[in-house]
Symmetry: C2
Subunit: 423 residues, 2 copies
């Protein structure tokens, strides 16, 4: 008997812009193995060609994860396989192709969580390693072995050069940074550097001018630099995946190159416990197994602990309504981000429970899986595949024309029943 | 009119050892400006002379914070002053005197949170800076200024060399590591290194012996290395403080040198949002302002998000009972630490609300402050002082003889009313 499993992943990507909260809501739908793309592709910031690349990457990552699941792998291994594929794509802001920081270097964040053991591993500001998720995964499995020599407690979170050293001594090969940079990331860096220099020049001159005018008794009109210099374009296409295996175990992972032109050493949500990903199997106090992965502006996702908030929220009966309220009240309307003029992020959420209409039927061990995504960003690319499917489905969700990114949200989702079959 | 304020801080220190959960419980007591040391000093791991030093440090730190509060400073500034003093003491595992890592270097974690703005700043694995809390504080205040040039989002969490560079460019002076190491930390490092080498030698030899015997058909008896080599002694005397100012604003901070012989780049709870400290003023959805700071084994405190859990818990009517249950169910009995044989940590918690028996009385703006502490470690040193007091009170709380650290807890607390007076 083989119980089918599901890989569900996200490549969040969006452009930034910054009214009143509007919600574009779809009623949750219960359909077996069906998926609801609700919004048509709007006039987005990303070209159609880039969207095509994203869909390809998503498909390949889903396929890798499902191949592992079909071979009997557990959720943790499958989610690692999906993330590795996503990191290897030069089009995503994770692993190869990551945003460059202020010094022109690549520093990556990644984390992984196993819903069964509740173990967790994370790396932050890691350079010179092709697949940061593999280091996070290894930290998790090393911790599962118990204490180190002389009773030392194994780490769950390593950063910077220490994390790189640890990876190398655990057999993970180094990768020169120049191999991880792409033509696109290098040209974006040069363009962003010019914008920054121009913005700083204008700010300095304006400050000087303002002081002169103020001392002569005339108050200068406030000049908004952002009206003259376009804000830097940051590829926020960080990646994440969530998986449920045939035993109903869940796992989640996330990986990110961080914000473009970030300060060296800056760590975002992808390396932050409870913020980048969350996975928790069902147990006595929890009806549903849940897995969540987030993408977006790290500072916003850290301070709202969005992954864990969404995981807790969807224990409510109506997952769609619960996620909608969480995104409205705990993210866009969060007290922790009251001073922000736009709150940017996206989540993919999976919850599942074992079900059976008839306790004595063959479907006793079937899994009812609800999957949802929501974003306040202009767009988000999602893909999913179950072990029933011959290939992955992908979708680019966009806020409808006129909706303000950072202040509006889109929410969609579907349900599938993964049945037990006799093979 | 001056409304008095309170600084309440902790220097957690304990020895490690590892049965069934026992709770040593004291009923919460409501007494004005009185404080309940419940357990007498037991036969602890630390010498009386060290306990004396701890008390002195606590007193000085309380005094610094209260001096600032008396001068009109807000909670955030006062808590920073307390932490700076605690970091400067060579007896604490924070700033000067921090534990050395596996490479013999000092790498510190620190974070701070302002209950009014809910802003947060943190540094991890930071070397060469005397007062890590000042960097965390500066990150917080820089973020309050809004976006950086060209629309970049300011970081809230920096690590490693990037964090050090950021500190230097923001006028925080460097401090050579050798100035931060003490005679005690250096000798502990040498001792721990010998223990580790001995433990690893025994493990290797035993592994070789076991293989020989197994190949000859005899299975060797399992040797527990910890029965031969004593586990490394780790100074876990990390520091934290929580403050409420005259306006009822709360702030919390925490600083730590991390576990002795930790891997370079390891980041503990002191730099982890929601894990090391938490501060949240009262608002529409929260009756009480709360501030929490934690100390102990970072990995245990991260995975249970103890600071935030305790902050949420004490919104219940009976704060003492709520904290007790949180420590039992969300820490010692946490599903996230099910594989651990001992869960080590301590918290200091403050909650307050504006009160007045008679709405028209002069006490209308008085603050009712409840302060609690709890620990699963052998001992914990706490101190507190209100602006009413001429000097700080300190107390070393210990688990009673026979209680098993990591599986038992102590909880104590008190209440004081900080009244409004006409000055």
């Amino acid at each position: 008997m083989l119980l089918h499993s599901l890989c569900w992943l996200l490549v969040g990507f969006y452009s930034q812009s910054s009214s009143d909260t509007e919600v574009f809501k779809t009623p949750a739908a219960l359909l077996i193995n069906y998926f609801f793309p609700v919004f048509n592709l709007g006039a987005g910031y990303h070209s159609e060609s880039k969207a095509k690349e994203y869909k390809h990457v998503c498909k390949r990552a889903c396929q890798k994860a499902v191949d592992r699941l079909r071979a009997g792998a557990m959720a943790l291994e499958a989610v690692t396989a999906a993330l590795t594929e996503l990191e290897d794509s030069p089009f995503t802001n994770a692993g190869t192709g990551s945003n460059l920081n202020l010094s022109g270097d690549i520093e990556c964040d990644a984390s992984i969580m196993d819903g069964k053991s509740l173990e967790y591993g994370a790396v932050g500001a890691l350079s010179g390693i092709k697949n940061p998720v593999l280091v996070a995964r290894r930290l998790l499995s090393e911790a599962q072995k118990g204490k180190l020599s002389a009773g030392r407690i194994p780490p769950c979170f390593l950063v910077g050069t220490g994390a790189q050293q640890w990876a190398l001594t655990h057999g993970i090969p180094p990768c020169p940074s120049e191999k991880m940079a792409t033509k696109f990331s290098l040209s974006a860096y040069k363009r962003n550097k010019r914008k920054m220099e121009l913005a700083e020049k204008i700010e300095t001159e304006h400050h000087f001018l303002k002081r002169q005018r103020t001392s002569s008794g005339t108050v200068s009109k406030y000049i908004k630099v952002s009206e003259i210099v376009e804000p830097i374009s940051s590829s926020l296409d960080t990646v994440g995946a969530i998986v449920v295996d045939q035993e109903g175990n869940v796992a989640a992972a996330v990986s990110s190159g961080g914000l473009a032109m970030k300060h060296p050493g800056r760590v975002g949500q992808a390396a932050h416990y409870g913020c980048g990903c969350w996975a928790e199997n069902a147990h006595d106090a929890r009806t549903y197994a849940t897995a969540v992965s987030t993408s977006g502006c790290g500072e916003h996702l850290i301070r709202t602990m969005l992954a864990r908030e969404c995981s807790t929220a969807v224990q409510a009966e109506d997952a769609h309504q619960a996620l909608l309220e969480a995104m409205q009240n705990k993210f866009i309307g969060s007290r922790f981000l009251a001073s922000e003029d736009g709150v940017l992020g996206g989540v993919i959420v999976l919850r599942c429970c074992k079900c059976g209409d008839d306790q004595s039927s063959e479907n006793l061990q079937a899994l009812l899986v609800e999957f949802l995504w929501s974003h306040t960003t202009e767009s988000m690319c999602v893909g999913y595949m179950s072990a029933h499917d011959s290939k992955a489905k992908t979708h680019i969700s966009r806020l409808p024309p006129g909706a303000v990114a950072g202040q509006s949200l889109a929410i969609e989702g579907g349900v599938c029943r993964l049945g037990a079959t006799n093979d």
